[in-house]
């Protein structure tokens, strides 16, 4: 059976193009939705959504090796087999480098290595504007952000099914690697937020290739579109070549920063040029999702 739950994922390739400001605005504009912050390495949505946290769930992303100093006889086999240089002399595991593969535990002749559940962060299940909002807090210097994204999306999906929500809005991370892939796979639509700078354009092309690689319907929105007319034109041509629609353009507006400092979304903060452009963008996106 085809799921009727629509999932909109907002990504960018390049960071700092305005994903979170746009995701927060969409959350304010949509009448019924679940909002999920999947930029788990640097989550920011909660800063403007003022959530009321209902539950905090510990996230065990992996196990990590711990060498028992009582049982270790110092043979050094673990150092030889560890591919991540995570075992330091004499003989202690550096948790920052351990990827939890358990090869050291398998190869230790004295069974001196224990694989221990490692708390990588917490998932906060919250309400913002009386609607579900999920975000995560990674521990310091933690890895496994892709797994955390999978987990938080599954939880959002369960809430959607249980409480009858038809729309999940996902604020994704920058880049093209594991947390990005985890944030877009299986979604209904990806909105890429770009900017008309040479780095924005370069990164846009790479993220379009990723969404096309995973065959997800995609559209593009150009933020700060007025800083370069010629590059904005070039983005239109680039998107055309990939068969991707440019669905909206937002002018440069310091209201973005001012709204953030006031702890608000730009939609609540002002009815200026950027705010209006986002409202019309949302109308177009809603039509895509129906």
């Amino acid at each position: 059976m085809k799921s009727t739950i629509q999932q909109l994922s907002i990504v960018s390739g390049k960071g700092g193009t305005g994903k979170t400001s746009i995701a927060a605005s969409f959350a304010k504009l949509s009448s019924k939705r679940i909002l999920v912050d999947c930029d788990v390495d640097a989550s920011n949505l909660h800063i403007v959504m003022h959530p009321e946290i209902l539950e905090e769930i510990p996230f065990v992303g992996q196990k990590k090796a711990i060498i028992s100093q009582d049982r270790c006889r110092g043979c050094g086999d673990c150092v030889i087999y560890c591919r991540f240089n995570a075992i330091k002399d004499f003989y202690v595991v550096d948790p920052l480098l351990c990827e939890g593969c358990a090869v050291c535990a398998m190869m230790c002749p004295y069974e001196a290595v224990d694989m221990v559940d490692h708390l990588s962060g917490t998932i906060a299940v919250a309400r913002a504007d009386s609607q579900p909002f999920l975000f995560a807090k990674m521990g310091i210097a933690e890895s496994n952000s892709g797994k955390l994204v999978d987990e938080i999306r599954q939880r959002a999906m369960k809430i959607a099914q249980a409480e009858g929500y038809n729309l999940i809005i996902i604020d994704g991370p920058p880049g093209i690697g594991c947390p990005v892939i985890a944030s877009i796979t299986g979604t209904t639509h990806v909105l890429i937020v770009t900017e008309p700078t040479i780095s924005g354009m370069h990164d846009l092309e790479r993220i379009i290739e990723v969404t096309q690689h995973f065959k997800i319907p995609t559209s593009v929105c150009i933020n700060k579109c007025d800083i370069s007319e010629s590059n904005t034109q070039a983005i239109h041509s680039l998107c055309n070549a990939y068969g991707v629609e440019v669905i909206g353009k937002i002018p440069l507006d310091t209201d973005f920063v001012k709204a953030q400092i006031a702890g608000k979304t730009i939609i609540e903060f002002s009815n200026g040029k950027a705010s209006k452009a986002i409202q019309s963008l949302w109308t177009k996106i809603e039509n895509k999702l129906i």
Binding site: A141, S143, G175, G177, C178, H213
Partner: protein
């Protein structure tokens, strides 16, 4: 001297700062810029250094000899990443999920698994005068960026100044980029988002025992919590660069190094002095 430029939040000006600094240092000493934002490598769009060398980054993944395999499933149970699944007695390898730990190869009682190289990205390099560049590029559809970051960091190990343009975020790619550096420069936007994410990376640097300096960039308003934090933690504030539409325009055109040098020379001199003082010590 290894200096990483990081920020947590994306788009705060890491690449602008690292390329400008690298250019300025190269006027005095041989200098290396290492682009470790391998998911979205942009620094050479601004440096414009002709790339003369490119090589592939390979990781090892398992290849199963189906004739020797008995379908016992030990490889599947050993793999912590779900990169091998045994379906109807036959192991299927999911290469993108593999961390190349070698566990399956070691555990197989039939010696039916061998490790074969798989290309996940490239490292490119070149130089112009005293400015050396090496940058990693993750292939489209690949999940794991860290092997490429580790390769990039092996370039020009003996150079006097190595500047590392780190990726955004605060997890594994950032940890791999920061590890082993002498100094982390945080490029921070004085906004709630910029401040929140910079603190995350500051904590990562602290856990790696690397000292930090801060460059405040793109300041629209003085965001008080950031400045209180800098004071409380006693972090050197090296420079403040205001919000300037002309910086955005120069980035649009790819001319931001020239623009920063001509417009914000004072700020960059202060950053250089701070680094040179550390080198002298």
């Amino acid at each position: 001297m290894n200096i990483a430029i990081a920020s947590g939040k994306g788009g705060t000006g890491k690449t602008t700062v690292s390329t400008t600094l690298a250019y300025l240092f190269s006027l005095k000493h041989p200098t290396v810029l290492l682009d470790c934002d391998v998911e979205e490598p942009d620094s050479n769009l601004f440096l414009k250094i002709p790339v003369t060398h490119t090589y592939n980054v390979e990781v090892l993944i398992p290849q199963v000899d189906m004739d020797a395999c008995t379908g016992c499933g030990k490889c599947e149970r050993t793999c912590q990443y779900n990169a091998i699944v045994v379906i109807k007695g036959k192991p299927l390898v999911l290469p993108e999920l593999c961390h190349s730990c070698g566990g399956c190869y070691l555990v197989c009682p039939e010696r039916a698994i061998k490790e074969v190289p798989r290309i996940v990205g490239t490292v490119e390099s070149g130089h112009k005068n005293n400015l050396y560049y090496a940058g990693g590029i993750l292939n489209i559809g690949e999940h794991i960026a860290t092997p490429i970051i580790d390769e990039v960091k092996k370039e020009h190990l003996n150079a006097k100044v190595r500047i590392i343009d780190a990726p955004p975020g605060s997890s594994c790619p950032v940890i791999h980029s920061l590890e082993g550096n002498d100094l982390v420069l945080l490029v921070v936007e004085p906004t709630p988002f910029g401040f929140h994410d910079a603190v995350l990376v500051y904590d990562v640097a602290k856990s790696l025992s690397i000292p930090c300096g801060i460059i405040v960039n793109n300041m629209v308003e003085k965001y008080v919590p950031l400045f209180s934090f800098i004071e409380k933690e006693n972090i050197p504030l090296l420079a403040t660069i205001p919000h300037d539409i002309n910086v955005a325009k120069a980035c649009a055109e790819g001319t931001c190094i020239d623009f920063m040098i001509s417009t914000y020379s004072k700020q960059f001199e202060a950053i250089q002095c701070f680094i040179e003082d550390i080198v002298k010590q």
